[in-house]
């Protein structure tokens, strides 16, 4: 089956061209895709305390929404992912220069974000401190897959494909040693051929969701093509 990602405009296109309702929805997608890399970046790279990082994350997205910061993105200068990271850097530097703390709430729009979950993930990460861009990229990919996996789960469960999801979860989401297809076949009372087939279908759906999510989070079509190639090794026309 060829790679034909679902038709979904980039988040920037949606922010710029849709009405207020569409803009809010696009912004919601943007926050959902970027808040976790932003928060972890603030915690790890900028060494902000938990509350400070939460405030800064809220401030970034609230400021971006109110002041249309992301509308200034120029795809000829950088990838959108890099642009978001630079916005974070600027926000932190400005707040440090002014020596003013960002007050929690403070009349600003408060977004519903699961910071506690991100903290748990940070604690589970044992790696050293990579370069800023690498760190942000890796967290961006993790957040991307997180959303794609959730979408796959929902997709499988609503379409009565529980076994597809369970096999994918048991094999592809496993962090330690993966079971063999024969072991999975015995566990699920399937043939190894069925396991191969179900996993192939689940992975195909996962790939589609990943591509759709990535497309939604890129600045434009060119960036999407570059990101597909760089992050996933895919050539998508």
């Amino acid at each position: 089956m060829p790679v034909f990602p679902p038709t979904r405009h980039s988040v920037i296109e949606r922010l710029r061209t849709h009405g207020e309702a569409g803009r809010s929805e696009a912004f919601g997608d943007l926050v959902a895709g970027y808040w976790k890399p932003v928060y972890k970046y603030l915690r790890v790279r900028w060494r902000l305390g938990r509350e400070e990082a939460e405030d800064a994350t809220q401030a970034l997205f609230a400021g971006a929404f109110e002041n249309a910061w992301f509308d200034r993105f120029d795809p000829d200068k950088a990838r959108f992912r890099t642009f978001v990271r630079l916005c974070v850097d600027r926000l932190v530097m400005n707040s440090q220069q002014a020596a003013s703390r960002i007050r929690r709430g403070g009349g600003q729009q408060v977004l519903s974000i699961d910071f506690a979950g991100a903290e748990e993930e940070l604690l589970a990460q044992t790696h050293g401190l990579p370069e800023a861009e690498d760190f942000f990229k890796r967290e961006f990919v993790r957040a991307l897959f997180d959303r794609a996996v959730r979408a796959l789960r929902k997709d499988c469960l609503t379409r009565g494909r529980e076994v597809h999801w369970q096999l994918f979860e048991r094999y592809d989401l496993r962090a330690d040693e993966r079971p063999s297809y024969a072991e999975l076949a015995a566990e699920f009372e399937l043939t190894p051929g069925q396991v191969t087939g179900y996993l192939a279908q689940a992975r195909r759906a996962f790939r589609m969701h990943t591509i759709a999510e990535l497309k939604a989070l890129c600045g434009n079509a060119d960036e999407f093509r570059r990101e597909s190639r760089d992050l996933l090794g895919l050539e998508i026309e």
Partner: protein, 337 residues
């Protein structure tokens, strides 16, 4: 909450990049190898109900790489030999990358086999001869491999030996199919080894000196050199040094290697192509002679060496004659008493 640790993210990154075939015939199982030119996956062929290996060009906008993979498939398809992995199918992915489907081999690379199995000398020589047979067959079809190394030889679980990765193979005969030969790289029987981009291809330590020089011209004796390097590894358990002149002193410092094998290896690893075996067949013939305890063409035996070899060769008749003589002597002694 779904928590994705680094190892899972890494795996999902690979899964997201797995190929999408135009039909549902092949279902990818896992990635089994990755090189500069392409990635090899194990997959299930749903039409024939068997596991296969699929090599797919890397997702890079490089027409040279794509052309090389296509050429590799055609080269292998032309070489039907038990020592060369057969190609079952060829196609192009939706994104334009070529792929070919081949037999899925169960086994390990020669390097891994040497390290884990620690085979005896006789088994090492058997493997070497099988490699020589496959390469010699390719030479008979005017194709030189140009990248023979332990990673490109597979030893199967039933002892079968397969020469893999014909990605930079070239013809040395202008009678060949142009689809296989590529364009503009043959000059009678002496091809230029540059790629279109002028890059030298091969692996240091296993690459003949004339192949290392980007403007050099090579023929089948480049593969003879690489086979000499493989033999070096089979005899010493380690890869030859990158400097081609260093391999022979290393060989001489290893006392456990039989002198005729050292001579064979030394001849194959000669810096000048004219000093090497002129063909893989002649190299293999010398190895076979050694195995059969016959005189090796490139080794000058001393009288003691010749005597020892004679005794080893005719061990049984010599023992029988000696036993007979001893018995006769004992009978004569008892008769005299």
């Amino acid at each position: 909450m779904i928590w994705l640790p680094d190892s899972t993210v890494e795996h999902l990154t690979a899964v997201a990049g797995w190929p999408e075939f135009a039909s549902d015939r092949y279902e990818v199982i896992e990635e089994i190898g990755r090189g500069g030119m392409g990635t090899v996956y194990s997959a299930f062929d749903t039409a024939l109900g068997r596991e296969v290996a699929i090599k797919i060009g890397n997702a890079l906008p490089s027409t040279e790489l794509q052309a090389r993979l296509t050429r590799e498939a055609r080269v292998i398809a032309r070489l039907e030999h038990p020592g060369i992995v057969p190609v079952h199918d060829f196609g192009v992915l939706a994104d334009g990358r070529p792929f070919y489907v081949m037999k899925r081999l169960q086994g390990q690379t020669l390097r891994a086999f040497i390290e884990t199995a620690a085979p005896p000398l006789a088994e090492r020589l058997r493997i070497f001869e099988r490699i020589c047979e496959a390469v010699s067959f390719a030479h008979a079809h005017a194709i030189i491999h140009r990248d023979l190394k332990p990673e490109n030889v597979m030893v199967g679980t039933f002892g079968e030996v397969m020469v893999m990765d014909w990605g930079i193979a070239r013809t040395f005969d202008d009678r060949s199919d142009p689809g296989v030969a590529g364009t503009g790289d043959t000059a009678g029987s002496r091809p230029v080894i540059e790629t279109n981009a002028g890059t030298v291809l091969g692996t240091p330590g296993f690459m003949a000196p004339e192949q290392s020089a980007s403007a050099g011209q090579i023929d089948q004796r480049a593969d003879v050199y690489a086979l000499g390097a493989l033999m070096f590894m089979l005899l010493t358990n380690h890869a030859p040094p990158h400097d081609s002149g260093q391999a022979i002193p290393d060989l001489d410092r290893t006392p456990t290697i039989p002198p005729p094998l050292k001579s064979i290896c030394r001849c194959a690893l000669s810096t000048s192509p004219s000093d090497r075996y002129h063909s893989v067949a002649s190299l293999a013939a010398d190895v076979a002679r050694f195995r059969e305890r016959q005189a090796v063409s490139v080794h000058a035996e001393g009288p003691l060496e010749r005597t020892v070899r004679f005794i080893r060769t005719y061990q049984t008749p010599i023992l029988l004659v000696l036993a007979y003589l001893v018995m006769r002597a004992l009978i004569a002694i008892f008769a005299a008493v």
